[in-house]
């Protein structure tokens, strides 16, 4: 276990329920979790296990129904929507399954769009954009629009956009879900390499246990509860 003062993310008795029709779905049930800084964590589970819900809560996109959620010292559950937006801007980078690039902006402009929520100068924004696109091997395609890029290239732009913010926490929801195996492994390799230099904690939600080789820790979710936690990925 980790001491609470080393923790980047801390969940205490967190539950999340959704109303569905006249009943409710318990997406997360009384979850306790501590994630340290500078680690790659894979959250594994089948569809409906609650892994996306967990990611949304940690990413301050949603608030718990009960329990306490603290990220980088801030209590998410007590924040308003506006405060959470500011928090996400400053602390969190998202990598989406469907890349969510803005179609009318080029690759470089997409990365820049992610940085414009931070108090950076134009020069800093340009510098970071070039740096992270180069790091993702996309410098030569900086001027291309998403529709001119392959799926793997789009996801690399998506990752550059998340990393360029240099956030404390990067959350990736099925980042390889739409990529072939080769591209998927390449993307994970890049994320793993950049994690060290970016000093960020990366949480990857996936049902693909093949990615566990890149993880410092793997968490297994089932029906809203953690089954077990492993330091590496023995079954990868």
């Amino acid at each position: 276990m980790y001491a609470a003062d080393d923790a980047l993310v801390e969940l205490q008795h967190v539950s999340k329920t959704y109303p569905v029709g006249e009943g409710v779905v318990n997406a997360l049930r009384d979850v306790d979790l501590v994630l340290p800084r500078n680690e790659i964590v894979i959250v594994h589970g089948v569809s409906g296990s609650g892994k996306s819900t967990l990611l949304n809560l940690i990413g301050a996109l949603d608030v718990p129904s009960s329990g306490t959620l603290i990220v980088d010292g801030a209590t998410i559950s007590a924040m308003s929507e506006g405060e959470r937006a500011k928090f996400r801007a400053a602390k969190i980078g998202f990598v989406f399954q469907f890349y969510n690039l803005l179609p009318t902006l080029t690759a470089a402009e997409n990365v820049e769009a992610g940085l414009e929520v931070l108090p950076l100068t134009r020069a800093e924004i340009r510098d970071r954009t070039q740096r992270y696109l180069s790091a993702m091997g996309m410098a030569d395609k900086a001027g291309k629009f998403p529709s001119q890029l392959s799926g793997g290239e789009q996801q690399r732009v998506g990752i550059a956009r998340a990393l360029a913010k240099e956030p404390a926490l990067i959350l990736a929801d099925e980042p390889t879900g739409n990529l072939d195996e080769e591209n998927g492994l390449h993307v994970m390799q890049l994320m793993s390499e950049l994690r060290a230099s970016a000093q960020a904690t990366i949480v990857v939600v996936t049902h693909n246990m093949g990615l566990a080789t890149f993880a410092d820790r793997v968490l297994h979710l089932h029906h809203g509860r953690f089954l077990r936690s492993s330091a590496a990925a023995p079954d990868a």
Partner: protein
């Protein structure tokens, strides 16, 4: 430029048809608002500039002709800058082969008067010693072809005045001219005006005969006090009429016409603004529905809702201002069309086009504000949700159409339909909100356009029916009040079957603090020549208390109800009268009283100022009778009324054109958006093996349903909007009876409805040309 701003601009370019729809609707609103107001301003300024430059009289006193030496000295009255004496006589001009033309001949002390001055538009002014020369009003040149060098002959009573025309002039006095004061309508060219030197007639008589004095006040003079002093000094004269500037026919007519239009303009603007709100809201709503994943992603990245809202508002502001620039260009066109039509219908000899930035600013601010509000509403509703809710493809799960066994006759019916029909029905029913909005938008576009068409028809029909109950053929105005027994001379004319006297004069009505000018018209009670068409109350009765029937505009201006007592002020006398009824009238400002009451108020007992004649053919020549001045044919009056009100028809026509244009935009954008939003479904069907023909059938069937639905829905919208427009027109102008002919619906709705399936063809071609696989594999946030 921030990337968010760049994205919004590129999005606008990507969705340029939607953006163009916003640009055009704002442009239309700005153009109509600014164009019509600028038109009104041009007309008012033309009148005021001419009045100022040509020194329109502040006061005019008309009396029975007298020796100029008997006139009091008006010069010493404080506040008066200038006084001029004139002799104004009514007569006729005759040309071989033409009907006699009523002519007013004015004999001037100075050939270049300093009051009611001339603007020379041809030839020159009369010289000081040219007693055989005259200048003519531009109306004589314009409508009757008189020109410099011609010789005119004006017959006044038994005297004939022959003059050589040396110039053509515009005078503010006869800017617009009426042939009969009982009808508050100018008749272009129905009266000729000739101006010559007074010295010519004085030499003949041996003294200077005058019957008219005009006054110009000093700036800042107390008009009422000056008028009181003038009338006090003129008490020894036999004063017939007193006109202050704002009671002068030309001034009053232009004022009332233009104020009527101005009062109606807000109704057009309100309808256009409602359309702007709906078109912009619909387009923005569709844009953000398509952009939901992008907006959600931006929110997840930390973009605050207020920043996103601002970005959309900036985009609308940019489009709105672009629309304002386009609208500015169009507003000049609308101004010119409207002002020229109005000037033509009122007989104004010239028009000075003008603009003002305040009106333009109001037009732009109001239209852009409506567009911004229409943007803020749907965007705020979306961005106040959580990023997760925004990123979900639809705010609510699609409503599946129940097709399971036993779910009812509708489901059984749908199962029975061919595949293409089934898909079309399902597309419509599973996205009911979207279908309803599309349907409502198309219906609104069509409904508003139809409403304007209906109102044009209603106005035209109302005017067509005006005077339908009147049985007179000629209204004959006398040169001076004549004893009733002299009407026998009219009855003796060939083809005259009946003659009925009337008496008309100008009065002032007072009810408490409110004052209104009016033309009193005394009619024979229970007249069959000119029956009263009552809107409220009853017709007046002879005998007993004095009773009056007012046109509705007067009762509204004075805040009167049937049963109230008002005061009629004529010259220095006042007469209490009871309001017993209100009358519909195509022209307002009339006070209708029993004939003897008019004689009493106008202070001419046992006399008539005119007569209605029923004729059995065209043989009657009333001008042959010595005391006959102006003659007005009913058919000419109806024609003239239509021409005067044609200004309103021009406005309605302009509004119809704008509404039809906007309606087309709504139809084209709505139907193409509706098809585009199902593009993935169509790609799936094509991947499953559906032919292009089948997909085309699905799209056209959906379009057909929209067309039929919109047709049904547009009818009540058209009727309700037309009722509102007619109501506003009635308040501002004349009572318009609503009228809903099938032809008006057909004229707008049929082309509009045909446009619905035609509108989806370009986008259908786009859908069918695109590779199905490409559509299905598209991963960008389109």
């Amino acid at each position: 430029m921030t990337r968010l701003r760049l994205k919004m601009r590129r999005d606008a370019w990507r969705m340029r048809w939607r953006a163009l729809a916003i640009v055009f609707i704002v442009a239309s609103g700005v153009a109509v608002y600014a164009g019509i107001h600028w038109g009104l301003l041009s007309l008012f300024r033309t009148r005021d500039t001419l009045y100022r430059k040509l020194h329109f009289a502040d006061l005019e006193v008309r009396f029975l002709p007298d020796d100029a030496r008997n006139l009091p000295d008006f010069g010493g009255i404080e506040g008066i800058a200038r006084v001029e004496r004139r002799l104004v006589l009514s007569g006729t001009m005759r040309e071989p082969g033409k009907a006699p033309l009523t002519t007013v001949m004015t004999f001037l002390e100075h050939p270049a008067p300093a009051i009611h001055s001339f603007k020379v538009v041809g030839g020159r002014l009369v010289g000081a010693d040219e007693d055989d020369a005259a200048v003519i009003d531009s109306g004589l040149a314009r409508y009757h072809g008189w020109k410099v060098g011609d010789r005119v002959e004006v017959k006044v009573g038994e005297a004939v005045y022959r003059r050589r025309v040396v110039g053509v002039v515009i005078t503010p006095e006869y800017f617009v001219a009426a042939s009969n004061p009982a009808y508050f309508i100018p008749e272009k060219g129905s009266v000729g005006f000739v101006f010559t030197n007074l010295s010519g007639i004085s030499d003949t008589l041996g003294f200077t005969l005058v019957n008219d004095v005009v006054f110009l006040f000093r700036p800042g003079a107390d008009a009422a006090a000056v008028k009181r002093e003038v009338l006090a000094r003129a008490s020894k004269l036999n004063v017939q009429q007193v006109f202050s500037r704002d009671r002068h026919f030309a001034y009053r007519f232009i004022q009332s016409q233009l104020e009527g239009i101005r009062a109606f303009v807000p109704a057009i603007v309100v309808v256009l603004m409602a359309l702007t709100f709906i078109v912009v809201s619909l387009n923005v709503n569709r844009m953000i529905v398509a952009d939901r994943p992008q907006i959600g992603a931006l929110m997840a990245m930390g973009y605050e809702p207020s920043r996103l809202l601002r970005a959309y508002l900036e985009l609308t502001l940019m489009l709105g201002l672009t629309g304002a620039v386009v609208g500015l260009g169009l507003s000049f066109v609308i101004r010119d069309l409207f002002a020229r039509a109005a000037a033509e219908s009122m007989g104004m000899p010239e028009i000075r086009m003008t603009t003002d930035t305040a009106t333009l600013a109001r037009a732009v601010v109001s239209e852009v504000a409506v567009a911004l509000a229409a943007t803020a509403f749907p965007v705020y509703r979306l961005v106040r949700r959580s990023p997760l809710a925004v990123m979900r493809p639809s705010p609510r799960p699609l409503v599946p159409l129940r097709t399971t066994a036993g779910s009812g006759g509708m489901a059984a019916f749908i199962r029975w339909l061919p595949a293409s029909h089934r898909h079309a029905v399902r597309n419509l029913t599973r996205q009911r909100g979207r279908a309803a909005v599309t349907l409502a938008a198309i219906a609104l576009g069509l409904g508003v356009a139809t409403a304007y068409r209906l109102s044009v028809g209603a106005l035209d029909r109302t005017l067509g029916g005006w005077l339908a109950h009147d049985t007179w053929d000629l209204a004959v105005d006398f040169l001076y009040p004549v004893p009733l027994d002299r009407l026998e001379e009219l009855r003796a004319l060939p083809s005259v079957a009946r003659a009925e006297p009337y008496f008309g004069c100008y009065v002032e009505l007072r009810a408490g603090d409110r004052v209104a000018d009016s033309s009193v018209l005394g009619l024979v009670p229970d007249s069959r020549m000119s029956p009263l068409i009552m809107a409220e109350g009853r017709a007046f009765r002879a005998g007993g208390e004095r009773e009056v029937v007012l046109t509705r505009d007067l009762s509204r201006r004075l805040g009167l109800a049937v049963g109230d007592v008002i005061e009629v002020h004529a010259n220095t006398e006042k007469y209490p009268v009871r309001l017993v009824g209100l009358q519909w009238a195509a022209v307002g400002g009339l006070s209708l009283v029993p004939f003897p009451v008019a004689q009493e108020i106008c202070q001419f007992p046992d006399k008539a100022s005119g007569a209605y004649l029923q004729t059995a053919g065209d043989a009657a020549r009333p001008h042959d009778v010595e005391f006959v001045g102006k003659v007005l044919a009913k058919r000419d009056l109806s024609k003239q009324v239509r021409e005067v009100v044609s200004v309103m028809i021009v406005i309605l026509d302009l509004a119809t054109a704008v509404a039809v244009f906007v309606g087309m935009l709504v139809i084209l954008t709505s139907i193409s958006l509706s098809v585009l939003e199902n593009v993935r479904d169509f790609a799936t069907l094509r991947a499953l093996g559906y032919s292009n023909r089948l997909i085309g059938t699905i799209v056209l069937l959906e379009a057909a349903v929209y067309a039929v639905g919109a047709l049904v829905l547009s009818i009540p919208i058209a009727v309700a909007t037309s009722l509102y427009l007619n109501y506003r027109m009635s308040l501002a102008w004349v009572q318009v009876h609503s009228y809903f002919p099938l032809s008006a619906f057909v004229a707008v709705l049929v082309p509009g409805i045909l446009l619905v399936p035609l509108g989806c063809l370009p986008v259908l071609r786009h859908v069918l040309r695109r590779e199905a696989l490409m559509t299905l594999r598209a991963r960008t946030l389109e």
